[in-house]
């Protein structure tokens, strides 16, 4: 029960006739009302039904009466465009949290309707059930009614889908107007590695692009690449003005791993003014972007240009400096780092678990294989190569092997083309270049001769019911075994983090897949001040996913450090 001296407060959910009537009744008794409605206008379903005359009372008149009375009532706070988040009861009080989408038209509006004449955007009019078009700036509800103008500026599908929510529509619009420098700034606002992503991002934004329903999606990633290259060219021509941190906070932060997650954290925190040092085990920066992705997809000068941008912010990258059992996170704290981010990646290839796997020479995990090549070892590793797996690393390995001069490269994948996780355009490229792909085939046993790999016994598979991953489970077809000759076998079936660098008493919560367990909302590990993200948390994923994790971690680290 509320105190007698203060009026009772009531939340009414729903702006249809029931909600409007209830709100007026409650407010009429002196209580204060908050009326919450999800759509931009009041009146609900009945408002649209002008010709229904229930019990002799035209619905138009009812809606109009109720909406207008509610809008004019001083005791009713109208919250349209508001979505209910949670409702909790606490100590006789009800706590409600809402998300309010702005109407973008202020009360200064005098309903002259000039804006409707000039608006160039014509969406379907949902108020009229899509039977006609309206403008992007709209009346909420019917034209003559209530008169609440609003601009529906909802997040476009591409931006919604992008893991880091780049304002794609905006930069595409800027590019269309030839405003490249502004476009790259819009991209850089959410993505510290635009040149890299302009080449290797699997661009889920294009998959959801609404233009795809018309003909084909906008080539968003190619546009991003163009403006990123424009920036790279500016840098090469010495016309590039390096970015500056917002302030100097003097607080030291350590980032372990110069992959996309670590670089994003370094970028975000350095921009804020933190002094960031990145500890990288490899002799080159970039993590998997450098050690995994082949040069024919991502030229190194492009990658290094993105890294240089981050270094321009004052980030120090210490190469060849791995964490070890002797050099631990606790040592970092002792050196005065106040916060630590672990972006250690997932570098340990999973075992095939077939007989003969450890018995012969000529068996090379894809991660090790690609790393060696990417660090400069371009010797031909064999003649006949089998790659096992259907992801991008498998395709990368196969196309790399071809480029090293291997004569025959075969990919074995246990499901069909439909289920293959690799990007379509990569698979097509591989096939064009001459890679053979055996679908619905799986290894049974490694064959060897004189201590060296001689080939592999395989079996054909068929697809059964859906499994936990939502894909159809492959089942061996009995008696379908066949043999493929090979002198090099490259398994590329998946990876997990290599955490052997951790001392015995590390105190981290580690999952059964050897990954760091974090709070997904903050990327905080169970140890205070230590955050983690990227492949080291999720297992193998995309660069853009790692960037997303980096942003989240950086945001919560800022909060932690301040």
């Amino acid at each position: 029960m509320s105190d007698k001296s203060s009026p009772r407060e009531v939340v009414v959910v729903g702006g249809g006739i029931t909600g409007l009537t209830a709100a007026l009744e409650v407010a009429g008794s002196g209580a204060r009302v908050a009326l919450v409605e999800e759509s931009p206008f009041l009146g609900g379903l009945l408002l649209k039904q002008e010709r229904v005359v229930p019990e002799g009372f035209p619905s138009v008149c009812l809606s109009s009466k109720l909406v207008n009375e509610v809008l004019a009532h001083p005791g009713i706070r109208v919250l349209t465009n508001s979505t209910l988040g949670s409702v909790r009861k606490k100590d006789d009080r009800i706590k409600v949290s809402l998300t309010h989408q702005p109407g973008r038209v202020t009360e200064a509006c005098n309903a002259c309707a000039e804006c409707l004449l000039v608006c160039p955007i014509k969406p379907y009019d949902s108020y009229n059930e899509g039977l006609m078009l309206r403008t992007a700036i709209d009346f909420a509800g019917p034209r003559t009614f209530g008169g609440e103008y609003n601009i529906e500026k909802e997040t476009p599908a591409c931006q919604e889908r992008c893991p880091v929510h780049i304002d794609i529509r905006r930069y595409v619009g800027l590019i269309a107007g030839g405003r490249y420098e502004e476009a790259i700034r819009v991209i850089r606002d959410r993505n510290p590695l635009p040149a890299v992503c302009g080449r290797i991002c699997p661009h889920p934004c294009e998959t959801v692009c609404n233009r795809g329903r018309q003909d084909e999606a906008i080539a968003i990633d190619a546009l991003k690449r163009f403006v990123s290259d424009y920036e790279v060219a500016q840098r090469k021509a010495g016309k590039f003005v390096p970015p500056k941190p917002k302030k100097d906070l003097k607080t030291k932060v350590a980032v372990v791993g110069a992959g996309p997650a670590g670089l994003t954290v370094a970028h975000d925190l350095a921009l804020e003014g933190y002094r960031v040092t990145v500890f990288e085990a490899a002799p080159v920066p970039g993590g998997m972007m450098h050690l995994g992705i082949p040069e024919y997809r991502l030229p190194r000068d492009i990658l290094l240009s993105d890294v240089a941008y981050i270094e321009d912010l004052g980030v120090e990258i210490k190469l060849n400096t791995p964490l070890t059992k002797e050099f631990t996170v606790d040592d970092l704290f002792k050196q005065g780092f106040k916060g630590i981010f672990l972006g250690v990646g997932a570098y340990e290839g999973l075992k095939l678990r077939v007989p003969g796997e450890d018995d012969y020479e000529g068996f090379l995990d894809c991660i090790k294989f690609l790393r060696d090549v990417n660090l400069g070892d371009k010797t031909r590793p064999g003649n006949k190569v089998i790659v096992i797996g259907g992801g991008n690393s498998a395709i990368d390995s196969a196309r790399t092997a071809l480029r090293l001069g291997c004569e025959e490269v075969t990919i074995l994948y246990r499901r069909s083309r439909r289920e293959m996780p690799a990007n379509d355009w990569e698979v097509e490229g591989a096939e064009e270049e001459g890679v053979k792909i055996h679908y619905l085939a799986a290894p049974v046993k490694i064959l060897g001769k004189g201590g060296k790999v001689a080939g592999m016994e395989c079996t054909k598979m068929r697809l059964g019911k859906l499994d936990a991953s939502g894909r159809r489970r492959p089942i061996p077809v009995e008696g379908s075994e066949f043999t493929v000759e090979a002198d090099l076998i490259i398994p590329a079936i998946s990876q997990q983090p290599d955490i052997t660098f951790l001392p015995d008493e590390h105190g981290f919560e580690i999952s059964r897949w050897n990954s760091f367990v974090v709070d997904e909302r903050t990327m905080a590990t169970n140890r205070p001040g230590i955050y983690a993200g990227g492949d080291g948390v999720t297992g193998p994923a995309t660069v853009i996913e790692a960037i997303r994790a980096g942003h989240i971690a950086a945001d919560s680290m800022k909060e932690y450090l301040s």
């Binding site: 959910v13 019990e55 008149c61």
Partner: protein, 772 residues
């Protein structure tokens, strides 16, 4: 939402996606040169121009440039709002069923197949065709329209085995409107049993059934196909055991309303249970248990017709308040000036008055209560002392215009409804004069006493009494029998609520210090003066005089006494209530049972559905089958009228093999020798069968009680002899006499849950009237 074919496709930015140039295959040999070469600047500019901006604001700034008051803020961001309150009321509308998935009805592909909600917009004056009825395919005026009922309702297969309650009545409205718009249009309504809802709707239906331009076909629509050449639709259906096909120009799918997807989650956080369809299913038990912190009404409680939603709203809002009292509204000083007369063109159109009849007498506006209409009204405000509005709704819109104009209470007079007939000119002149001279609300008028006489201790009466005492209002319940709460207990038992719960509820009223219950008592006289009501009650202890601020007529229903059915002459001919007692007493071991629906209801004398009897009959059938699975039950009916979740009872009974036979005319019962029922079924057969028992579903009728009370209190009855209440959507409980209210069966047929809700709502209306 449907993408119509008559809107041109977005072809305004035609160009193909620009392909990524690649390093030629032969140049990739033995090197690691980049394969993808990037788009050229020319390609990039073309590609970026392909973006459709998703047809949402791109912040281009054109509208801001045109906007004089600079009222546009492009970068306003979403925000979080935290609210804290004493109570929350859930009222969200449901979700209109999307028939895309029902491929056989052709909605997804055929332009001329639309939903009933799209039909509303199609014919709206503010819609795409300015109020004309044209078909989407080519803009032709349709000559033949088919309505298909129960799309997304009463369909077990899609998890929607409930009646959406409103669609039949909506179809009747829309068919009439189509006829009005496109003169010679022919309408076919394909249905699976009609369910018109509301006390006037049965008359409405029989009127339509008598028209030659509309045909009702009971059957199943199996396919709708559109001719791609001319847009003609072939509707394939099966009716009366035969399949047929008919051609139409437009097909309207009467789509049902489902529960809002997200509601379940809030229900869970608020500790509310929802049924398998995602709605809150109310029962007497849940209504009694409802607290003031969380209440609900409208579509969250199941699909409901508009007028039920309003009553729900009144009840839910009443529930959400406590006894902390109202803040009296301030009367502003009266303006000096003259009387302005305005007319609503839409209102005149509805009343059949020509605009020319009032031209010169008043300022006419298309919709007076819309924004520009109100603006016109405000323009004269400086000179206005009072306002007369012609063509609007009396008793509902006064407050709106007072609020809009800022004039004090009593400054707005409405001439509408019957007031529009006769010599309008003279009438307006007299109203204008009367209005200018109208008296101010009497200053210092005595506050109305915070006490209420509730006549009737049934479901709605007790619900109202309970709510009133909770708000601190003194209540006297006048009950003619020796016991209060009997119908409530009966309803509670039928639905399985513990009798203790009802007993506790009734006892709480009886023992409440501000409540008095007078049993075996009737109202002898009612006098109203100065906002005070004096009620003389005859009690076993002699006559008592009660003074109150208001009176509530909750007189409830009387079961029809069946005549001509040998009731009372044969021990195996019973009413449903008697039958129920036999079942619960374990004395219903009959093998063959006949039920006869609509006994005394939907007749010439009582041309309305009693609302209660089909539900009661089906509940009894299920209960009988539980105890006596071998019983063979035949239900003779004239269209089963169950609404909302009651549909489950119907399908359950059908699944148990209950034989439903639709009949015309009166069934003939013979008791000589064997007990026999002879009927004429709607498919033209005459059948006579032997039964062990015949159960009569007698209509519940408002009895002589309320007619007598209405006479004593000077309250008007409507054409159907129910208590005439105000506009059912604006003032559903107000009677023709000031200070006297009505709820429950006396004003319209209801089931027990509805009666309870009405009682709560009426209590709220009375509290507002009394200023508590």
């Amino acid at each position: 939402m449907k993408k119509p074919k008559f809107i041109p496709e977005f072809k305004d930015i035609p160009s193909e996606r620009n392909r990524m140039p690649e390093l030629p295959l032969e140049e990739r040999n033995l090197n690691f040169e980049e394969v993808e070469l990037g788009l050229s600047e020319e390609m990039v500019l073309k590609e970026a121009a392909r973006c459709l901006s998703c047809r949402r604001c791109i912040g281009c700034g054109l509208c801001l440039a045109e906007c004089d008051p600079k009222a546009i803020v492009y970068d306003e961001a979403a925000s979080r709002v935290e609210l804290e309150a004493d109570a929350i009321v859930f009222t969200s509308d449901g979700q209109v069923f999307n028939p895309d998935g029902k491929k056989e009805l052709g909605y997804a592909d055929a332009a001329n197949v639309i939903t009933s909600f799209e039909f509303e917009r199609l014919v709206s004056p503010t819609g795409p065709f300015g109020g004309l009825l044209v078909r989407p395919f080519d803009g032709d005026i349709p000559k033949r329209i088919a309505f298909i009922q129960c799309v997304g309702s009463r369909e077990e297969g899609i998890g929607a085995n409930f009646c959406s309650s409103d669609c039949c009545s909506r179809t009747f409205s829309q068919a009439r409107h189509a006829r009005k718009l496109a003169g010679d249009v022919e309408v076919h309504v394909f249905h699976r049993g009609l369910r018109p809802v509301g006390k006037g709707s049965e008359l409405d239906l029989s009127e339509l059934q008598g028209e030659n331009w509309i045909e009702f076909i009971e059957g199943e629509v199996t396919s709708v196909k559109e001719d791609p050449g001319d847009g003609t639709l072939s509707v394939g259906y099966s009716a009366a055991g035969e399949t047929a096909e008919a051609k139409f120009d437009l097909v309207v799918l009467a789509v049902g309303v489902h529960a809002l997807g997200g509601f379940k989650r809030y229900a869970r956080t608020a500790g509310i249970r929802v049924n398998k369809f995602g709605f809150i299913e109310r029962s007497i038990g849940s209504l009694i248990a409802e607290t003031e912190a969380v209440s609900f009404g409208g579509a969250v409680c199941g699909p409901a017709p508009v007028y039920r939603s309003v009553i729900d709203a009144l009840a839910a809002s009443t529930r959400s308040l406590d006894s902390s009292g109202a803040v009296p509204s301030q009367q502003s000083p009266r303006h000096k000036g003259k009387t302005f007369v305005y007319a609503c063109e839409y209102g005149l159109e509805l009343a059949g008055v020509n605009r020319s009849d009032v031209e010169g007498l008043c300022i006419v506006h298309p919709f007076l209560c819309y924004k520009d209409g109100r603006a016109a009204m405000r323009a004269n405000l400086d000179e206005t002392s009072s306002i007369v509005v012609v063509g609007c709704h009396k008793g509902s819109h006064e407050e709106l215009f007072e609020t809009v104009s800022g004039l004090p209470r009593g400054s707005v007079t409405i001439v509408g409804g019957e007031g529009l007939s006769g010599d309008l000119k003279a009438k307006l002149a007299s109203v204008t004069e009367g209005s200018s001279a109208s008296q101010l609300p009497e200053a210092g008028r005595e506050k109305r006493p915070a006490s209420v006489v509730v006549v009737g201790g049934g479901t709605s009466g007790l619900a109202a009494a309970s709510e009133l005492v909770r708000r601190g209002v003194e209540v006297t319940v006048v009950e003619k029998s020796a016991e209060i709460g009997k119908p409530l207990t009966f309803a509670a038992i039928a639905e399985g609520t513990e009798v203790d719960v009802v007993d506790g509820f009734v006892k709480a009223i009886e023992t409440n210090p501000v409540a008095t219950v007078l049993k075996e008592s009737t109202v002898a006289a009612v006098e109203t003066s100065d906002g005070k009501i004096t009620v003389k009650v005859s009690t076993p202890q002699g006559e008592k005089t009660l003074e109150a601020g208001a009176m509530l007529m909750a007189t409830g229903a009387n079961a029809y006494v069946p005549a001509g059915y040998h009731h009372g002459e044969h021990e195996a001919i019973l009413t449903q209530s008697e039958f129920r007692q036999r079942i619960t007493g374990g004395r219903a071991s009959w093998k063959r049972v006949a039920m006869i629906q609509c006994v005394g209801a939907r007749s010439a004398e009582h041309p309305y559905c009693s609302r209660y009897c089909c539900k009661q009959a089906l509940a009894n059938v299920l209960r009988l089958k539980e105890d006596n699975p071998g019983a063979e039950v035949t239900v003779f009916h004239r269209g089963i009228r169950v609404f909302g979740f009651e549909e489950d009872l119907y399908t359950d009974a059908a699944d148990l093999g209950v034989n439903f036979i639709e009949i015309t005319g009166e069934p003939r019962i013979t008791t000589e020798g064997a007990l026999k029922v002879a009927v004429d079924s709607t498919d033209g057969k005459s059948v006579s069968n032997e039964f062990d028992a015949v159960v009569l579903s007698v209509g519940h009728l408002h009895g002589s009680d309320h007619e007598e009370l209405a006479r004593v209190a000077g309250v008007r009855l409507d054409d159907l002899k129910f208590i005439a209440t105000g506009d059912s959507l604006a003032a559903p409980f107000a009677t023709s006499a000031s200070g006297i209210f009505a709820c429950g069966f006396g004003r319209s047929p209801v089931i027990a849950e509805e009666a309870f809700v009405e009682g709560v709502g009426a209590a709220g209306t009375i509290c507002k009237y009394l200023g508590v």
